[in-house]
Amino acid sequence: MLNPFFLQGSQGEQGLVQDLINEQLRMYGLECHYIPRKLMTSRTIMKEVTESRFDQAFPLEAYLMNVDGYAGQGDILSKFGVRVTTEATFVISRERFEESVAPFLEQQEDDYDVSNRPREGDLLFSPLGKKLFEIKYVEFEKPNYQLRKNYTYQLTCEVFEYEDEVIDTNVNLIDEVVQTDGYIARLVLSGVGATATANTTLAFGAVQQIFLQNDGYGYLAAPTVSISTSPGVDATAVAIMTSRSGIGTAKSIDRILLINPGGDYVGVPTVTVPGTGIATAGITTLGSVGIVTITSGGSGYTTTPNVAITTAPSGGTDATAEAVMVGGTISAIRISNAGSGYTSAPTITIGAATSIGDGDYIFNETVQVSSDSSETARVKVWDSSSRTLDVSILTKMQFQVGEKIKGLESGAEYVILSVDYDTPNDYPNDQYKQNQYNDNADFETEADAILDFSEGNPFGTF
């Protein structure tokens, strides 16, 4: 039986020890942040959490036990690249945790099953080296019941392995830890564009259009279409190719458009298409559209705009044309029908470029596209000068060029110009450094030069 004259730890003594520990931790500890893990989605059978969120950070002083350097093997080169195996042990005050963290977690009991103690899987952010530690084990019996009570938690931690967890605590220092890590897709966005302009002349005896008699097959590249010469201006044309289902990888001719309808032809010129295609020309002796000259290529086009040509006078044929867009600018106008019966040079109007492109995306905000896919992602890095937007945690990987993407918090909205689903290895802004472990694109580029896909799969593709 214990000596009744000794309490082996009265409430007052226990309180004193706890106070002393709290004081020591405040003097010698580090200003860490305790970041609880919200278990969003768990899977049965394999028993693992597939979706986690870290959206709160509680300042909490912690004492770093590793005075001679961190435990673990440090930085090692593994077959999976550089791996940091740093481990650390932190001591936190039990009372401080119960006072400053646990009550908040208890209020959100739907999100946190266990709230009255530090939990394995939660994160601890150390300001030394801005390291993000994951708690592996919570030791609560060291020291072991001094004065019949435990006053500290000893947290055995290792540096966090990141996948696609949402870290959005509103403490920038913490959130920025994984700003360039994990899977990232890069979108290049378009700014507000300028509409392209073009003009044309009136031509007589020009080729009105080219009729494709046989679309041919087996073309590996667009064939050079030649049109017999004219006493005046020679007509030139270009073949637009297409893939026909069931004819392997080689292509057929979709249509032949005029670059220059020419002029002063006396008879119907001969159209020569190398290979298996056959085409004939139609000629107009009345006024038609001549060669179209781009006066301004414009900018900010994300989709090929329509080309409108003023209608021909009564009895004539309206001219039609298509624009060619390269890198957001209109590089040429191809004439599909030069028309006839025009008495003066018609006016050419090219569809407007995008008028969207405003604002700055905010790090970690959700962005959403306007199209039916409603794909969302989270902003990692936004570089306004080059208009590149790096996003992660994509819900579909179905971004389409030409669709609008809007920041749900910032309201910034731009149109997508190009999409690269390979994690970028460099940044336009030197502020960001990428942990380069991603040769996917390099393999693709190198393989394109040596792999032969010309012989299709005889069993078909899907």
Binding site: M40, E48, D164, K396, D439, N440, A447, L451
Partner: protein
């Protein structure tokens, strides 16, 4: 003995070919409602690398805030082994087209390259997603066609055989140790290594002679007939166009007017556009021809189309891989001579 420098980068190409199979693998995470909340492309890299580069590129700032991003795919070449089952004659050579010249190459040596593909995953479900997207393609092999030697355009089908799948999940033991999920897939790429590629000293065969003998007795038989075949050009290599059509012609016309006949002669082969014709006769500025000669197709030609003469110069300019025709000649003998390959004459 050895030491003729050559490096076709075949093993590097095999590594690239192997790696590119796995560079577009995605994994998905679903939220509680069953919709995707995250789609990721799994990063892939060839494991071995220069150590300082690894440090500089993957840890540019010394303070690395996180351990690693997951999941990851890594592979490395593990060994080379001669494959006797695909052995061919060691002294056999073949002639291949290298640009415009003939190249002589020894038959390739079959080698099996062992690869190990490793999947490092944070969640076992990630590992399974990746694995399930790889394994069904290998039954047990998957073929890729690699252009092993660009200079001769030698494309080979390389079967990649899935040999083994191992799985390690260290989850037992102290809570303080890390759980690591690694799948290791063993593959064999059945590639070919090539020796040096030399210019073929014999060059192109420009003439074939076949001698026929009057009897099968090889000691007393005398040659009776020689059949010679020489290539005929189907292109105007020297571009000698000295005259043009004076008026358009249809595909049926056999007599037409040209601007000048000075350089033309009967029995000459001429080419207009892509049609070859043989001249029957010349009368003033009019030329009578056989149309659609040498298996070409008769076509209409425009006024002013240039007329090229196919001469012996063109025949000598035929390059490796070009389309060409044949000129045949039969000679009859009663002299009993034989052709000497060493002297190149009949003796």
């Amino acid at each position: 003995m050895l030491g003729t420098y050559f490096y076709h980068e075949i093993l590097r190409k095999t590594v690239i070919g192997f790696g590119t199979l796995f560079n577009n693998i995605n994994i998905r995470h679903k939220d509680a409602s069953g919709t995707n909340f995250s789609v990721m492309k799994v990063p892939l890299a060839y494991g071995p690398m220069q150590k300082f580069l690894a440090r500089i590129q993957q840890q540019p700032e010394l303070e690395r805030e996180i351990a690693i991003t997951l999941p990851r795919l890594s592979f490395e070449m593990q060994g080379l082994q001669y494959d006797p089952t695909r052995k061919t004659g060691i002294a056999q050579t073949f002639i291949a087209k290298g640009g415009t010249t003939a190249k002589k190459v020894y038959m390739p040596i079959p080698y099996n390259v062992s690869f190990e593909l490793s999947i490092l995953a944070k969640l076992s479900d990630d590992g399974l997603q990746i694995l399930e997207q790889i394994v069904p393609y290998f039954q047990p092999s998957f073929n890729i066609t690699i252009n092993l030697i660009d200079s001769i355009g030698e494309k080979k089908d390389i079967p990649i055989v899935l040999e083994s799948i191992n799985y390690s999940d260290q989850y037992e033991g102290s809570f303080e140790t890390r759980r690591t999920i690694v799948y290791t897939l063993g593959f064999t790429a059945k590639t070919y290594l090539f020796g040096p590629v030399a210019d073929d000293p014999a060059g192109l065969i420009k003439k074939v002679d076949v001698d026929y003998y009057g009897s099968t007795n090889i000691t007393t038989a005398k040659r009776v007939q020689r059949y010679s075949a020489t290539p005929l050009a189907k292109q105007n290599y020297d571009d000698d166009t000295t005259t043009v059509l004076d008026g358009a012609i249809s595909e049926k016309v056999t007599k037409f007017k040209v601007s000048a006949t000075t350089d033309l002669a009967a029995n000459q082969r001429i080419i207009i556009d892509t049609e070859i014709m043989k001249i029957r006769s010349i009368s003033g500025q009019n030329v009578t021809v056989f149309r659609a000669h040498d298996n070409t197709v008769a076509a209409s030609h425009d006024h002013g189309a240039s007329i090229g003469v196919l001469s012996a110069t063109d025949n000598a300019s035929i390059e490796f891989g070009d389309d060409f025709g044949f000129d045949e000649m039969s000679s009859f003998f009663s002299d009993g001579k034989e052709f000497s390959p060493s002297q190149g004459i009949d003796i």
